[in-house]
């Protein structure tokens, strides 16, 4: 994404002009825009005019509109892929729609009219935050406008007869295709059915890989599976590449990594990315850090339950006590339509960082983020053990004391 213009005052008011360039940028924009913000972008509007004789005429105009956002919708892969078969980078496919009321009138559109904008790649838009720019939003802009950011990775999670072909970027995992071929299991009296079906399965996956994985641009392509399927697939890919003398594929051979995973479902991806071979390739990419963070949390939960907390209320209590060493928080929570809720979480992140803690903001477009979402969206690893029940009791007592004081104060007045 390109930052075209930025004008933000000390008090957090102001605007930025951005130019999204790929799918991931669209995801950033989706996370930046919240309800109530003003977005100015080029729109195509159908205008109807009524002539003096009563005949109506309608035409389309391109005009700049400013909307007060009421709804945003993001879809990671709107159009199905254009296949060029060369394993090269594609046009962006994600789409982002923004609906809202027009807040600046022009000659075509009245004030208060509704419009739905389609934000497009390589087209500028201006975003004004009415509630003010907070540190999380600014951080995201900085992150997303950095040049040459992030690792891009292809991944195939497979088992006998099932495969999911995924593309991972810094903030997004897109499952480009799920393949399911029914493979008969072994049976007394011949395994030809199994072998035929496996051959069919492998060739289906191979074709999909050629179509969907731009291996020339990727840092690495991971094949993950339980058992021997990964070896079978890997061998098949390069055997086919040899047969068809697919030079680009053959020369990318060093990028392909076989990793063991315990399941053939997509959630095996988290595990696969933790494997040392892959981690080395990624070198501190964001999604790798997220996976490690989540893993740490689970390990802490196993070794010292009192130092691993989750759930918004509980984590808030831990933050109040300055006990949080690592905060894991999903970007889902920042997308809340209620600014108060968002501010609450922003304050939490700032509090943790100010005390020297680490705050990891998980992207919910990644498998690890989704797992965090399922786990209420927020979790924390504490620096020292705290018993949740003791803390809750303290809180209760504190509240009672405050209540008493209040009541006591009231009595004195009387």
């Amino acid at each position: 994404m390109k930052l075209v213009n930025k004008h933000i005052e000390k008090d957090g008011s102001g605007y930025v002009t951005l130019r999204p360039e790929d799918d991931e940028d669209m995801w950033h924009v989706y996370n930046l825009i919240s309800e109530g913000d003003h977005v100015r972008a080029l729109a195509v509007r159908r205008v109807q005019t009524l002539s003096s004789t009563g005949s109506s005429d309608s035409f389309r105009v391109k005009t700049n509109l400013t909307l007060e956002v009421t709804k945003t919708a993001f879809s990671p892969a709107a159009s199905s892929s254009q296949s060029n078969g060369t394993g090269e980078k594609k046009e962006p496919t994600a789409s982002l729609q923004i609906s809202g009321k027009v807040v600046e009138e022009n000659e075509f559109v009245k004030l208060g009219a509704y419009h739905t904008l389609d934000l497009e790649a390589n087209r500028d838009f201006r975003l004004t935050k009415t509630s003010g720019w907070d540190s999380i939003a600014l951080e995201r802009i900085q992150e997303s406008t950095q040049e040459g950011r992030g690792a891009e990775l292809g991944a195939i999670v497979c088992g006998e007869g099932t495969a999911a072909i995924c593309l991972l970027s810094e903030h997004m995992t897109t499952v480009r295709q799920r393949i399911e071929v029914s493979v008969p299991r072994k049976r007394k009296g011949g395994t030809s059915g199994h072998e035929k079906a496996m051959e069919n399965f492998l060739s289906t996956v191979y074709q999909a890989i050629l179509r969907l994985i731009p291996y020339q641009d990727l840092k690495a392509v991971v094949i993950a599976s339980p058992g021997f399927t990964k070896d079978t697939l890997y061998d098949y890919i390069f055997q086919q590449a040899n047969l068809t003398s697919n030079k680009p594929l053959l020369s990318s051979r060093s990028k392909w990594i076989k990793v063991h995973s315990n399941t053939s479902h997509v959630h095996g991806l988290v595990e696969a990315l933790r494997a040392p071979e892959v981690a080395k390739m990624l070198q501190g990419a964001k999604f790798a850090r997220e996976g490690v963070g989540l893993d740490k949390f689970h390990k802490m939960l196993a070794t010292d339950e009192l130092r691993a907390w989750y759930g918004p209320e509980h984590v808030a209590l831990a933050v109040d006590r300055g006990a949080v060493g690592t905060l894991l928080i999903s970007d889902d929570l920042f997308r809340s339509s209620d600014p108060a809720t968002r501010n609450h979480y922003v304050a939490m992140v700032e509090a943790v960082r100010s005390k020297g803690g680490e705050a990891l903001i998980f992207s919910s477009m990644h498998e690890s983020g989704q797992q965090l979402n399922l786990l209420t969206g927020i979790a924390a690893i504490l620096t020292y053990p705290l018993d949740i029940e003791v803390v809750e009791m303290e809180e209760r007592e504190e509240r009672e004391r405050l209540d008493k004081e209040k009541n006591g104060g009231g009595n004195e007045e009387e």
Binding site: S182, P184, K186, G227, N262, V266, L301, A302, Y310, L372
Partner: protein, 563 residues
């Protein structure tokens, strides 16, 4: 059987009677299909009986009675016609209900006769059907032991054996010759590891055994679970050679996990074969040492000591399988041989009377002349099935007809619960069937759920279960990604000790809610029944990161009782 001729005659008669009454009323297709089993029972009265066909026509048309009474004299008002179109006419509904009831009664009478017949035959021959799963740590010699057993019994021919011996020697894996009798896949033979369940059968004097040879490697536990769900008794093979038993028994070895798995999938009896005893020159001390280590563990895993048998074995040499003919062993061991132990295993009672349930474990295309077309195999959890039965494949709306039933590679007119069968189906496309489909009667399908409460026992695990834990749910042969969406309560001896716990630790019994993870384009649902309804259909296993973390049973709770 009703011949084609008779059937079409019956159809024609019915069609004729309908056209006579009122040409505009379409016959309900369901009534037609419903009569098929009935006509089979009473072929004499069915085709031409006038009483029968009148009542048929009456029920197939929705508003005939009203028409009969007043139709010719005063035409129906518009409102009346509309109502008639809504099938609200009660009189007809009652008629239809009666018809349905009759059909079902006829069906169940037929099955009752069959059940009585099966019971009688079982008593006469004294042979009972039973399924055996062979489990144990990788390379304990499960496949080799079974290959040897089949060869000794005569199920594996001399010719096959020599072919396997030659083949395995060729690639330098001569010791796998017996295992090749079961490891048929190319990958399995190349790598010397069982990957998928091998199903075969053998007989002992008093039992018909279905043998399921499970893979021991941890990556293939899904296949092993699929097999264990079909088994009644387990044969656990442990490696007796120095160091190997310990490797398989320690944390991370498969011995423990397998024992837990088979027990929680309903296996009550276990035979432990301590294999490769020839490598320690039949040392009694070694044998005792292993037995002492395993006994308390198996007891804690839930196997009663009366249901646990230990025996020394040497699979490669075939010692103590059919008979014990080694002097060193005879000196201190006079217990049963493998075959005699297997012959005495108790057969659990079979739920013949319950509605039919067949969880499909394999779908393939039959290739021989008599057995062609879509074929499925699986084990009957409950009920009975006969050739000609119409079965519903759940999930899905498809109905198939059973064309041929194969039990132990022989065709059979029927199969009963507890048997592993291959069914050849007609009237269904194979895309509507997959591993995990449940075949059931059209009248009593299995419900589909996407979220359910289950009572679980938490096993040894690395990190505790919390809300949102991503798991894989295993139910018979299918495994699906799922999430623990709620921790409802913790139980101790059936009493709730804590509500809404934060975490579940090792050894806890708890009630949790599981939600299947749906992908963007499909809403995942699983056919499952509560344990109250059908024990075998309610069992689930929960795994995470390649370890089994809990076993559970699906219970239906009233909303109020879990809040």
């Amino acid at each position: 059987m009703l011949t084609n001729n008779q059937f079409s005659a019956a159809k024609a008669a019915k069609a004729a009677s309908i056209t006579q009454k009122s040409a505009s009323l379409p016959g309900k297709p369901r009534t037609q299909t419903g009569t098929t089993p009935k006509s089979k029972l009473q072929p004499k009265t069915q085709p031409n009986s006038p009483v029968n066909s009148t009542s048929k026509a009456g029920s197939s048309g929705s508003n005939t009675p009203t028409n009969k009474g007043s139709g010719s004299k005063s035409p129906l008002t518009v409102a009346q016609q509309d109502l008639a179109g809504l099938h609200l006419d009660q009189e007809v509904d009652l008629e239809a209900e009666k018809e349905k009831y009759k059909e079902r009664a006829a069906l169940s009478m037929k099955t009752e006769e069959l059940i009585a017949k099966v019971r009688k035959e079982e008593e006469e021959s004294g042979k009972k059907n039973i399924s055996l799963i062979v489990v144990g740590h990788v390379d304990a010699g499960k496949s080799t032991l079974m290959g040897r057993l089949l060869y000794d019994i005569g199920e594996l021919s001399e010719k096959e054996k020599t072919a396997n011996e030659r083949g395995s020697k060729k690639i330098g894996k001569g010791s796998f010759a017996f295992a090749w009798g079961l490891d048929a896949l190319g990958d399995e033979r190349d790598r010397g590891v069982t990957i998928d369940i091998a199903t075969t059968h053998f007989t002992t004097p008093h039992r018909n055994y279905t043998l399921l040879d499970a893979p021991g490697h941890r990556d293939f536990i899904p296949a092993m679970i699929s097999g264990a769900a079909q088994a009644d008794v387990a044969l656990m093979v442990v490696d007796g050679s120095p160091g190997e038993f310990e490797a398989g028994f320690e944390r991370g070895g498969q011995t423990r996990e397998h024992a837990w798995l088979v027990r929680s999938l309903g296996v009550k009896e276990i035979i432990v074969g301590i294999n490769k005893m020839d490598l320690v020159s039949w040392s009694q001390d070694r044998y005792e040492e292993i037995v002492e280590a395993l006994k308390p563990f198996l007891l804690s895993a839930g196997f009663a000591s009366a249901k646990t048998t230990f025996m020394p074995l040497a699979a490669m040499e075939g010692i103590n399988i059919l008979e014990n003919d080694v002097e060193e062993l005879k000196e201190w061991y006079n217990g049963p041989t493998l075959i005699s132990a297997l012959d005495k295993v108790e057969v659990p009672p079979r739920p013949y009377e319950s509605p039919l349930r067949i969880p499909v474990s394999n779908v393939f295309k039959g290739q021989t002349a008599i057995a062609s077309g879509v074929a499925v195999s699986g084990r009957l959890c409950s009920g009975v099935v006969q050739v000609g039965d119409r079965l519903r494949a759940v999930p899905g709306d498809e109905v198939a007809t059973v064309r041929t039933i194969e039990v132990d590679e022989d065709s059979s007119p029927y199969a009963v619960s507890g048997q592993n069968v291959t069914l050849y189906l007609s009237g269904i496309d194979s895309i509507n069937l997959s591993i995990g489909t449940i075949l059931c009667p059209t009248s009593l399908p299995v419900p589909l759920v996407s979220k359910f409460t289950t009572q679980i026992l938490v096993f040894d695990l690395q990190s505790p279960i919390i809300i949102g834990t991503s798991v894989e749910l295993f139910h018979h042969s299918v495994n699906l990604p799922a999430t623990v969406s709620r921790l409802v309560n913790v139980l101790e001896k059936g009493q709730v000790t804590k509500k809404n716990p934060r975490v579940l630790q090792k050894g806890m019994t708890a009630t949790i809610e599981i939600t299947l993870r749906s992908t963007s384009n499909n809403n995942a649902r699983i056919p499952i029944e509560t344990s109250q309804q059908n024990k075998e259909m309610g069992r689930v296993l929960i795994r995470r990161n390649g370890e089994t973390i809990a076993a559970g049973e699906y219970y239906l709770y009233l909303r109020s009782s879990i809040r």
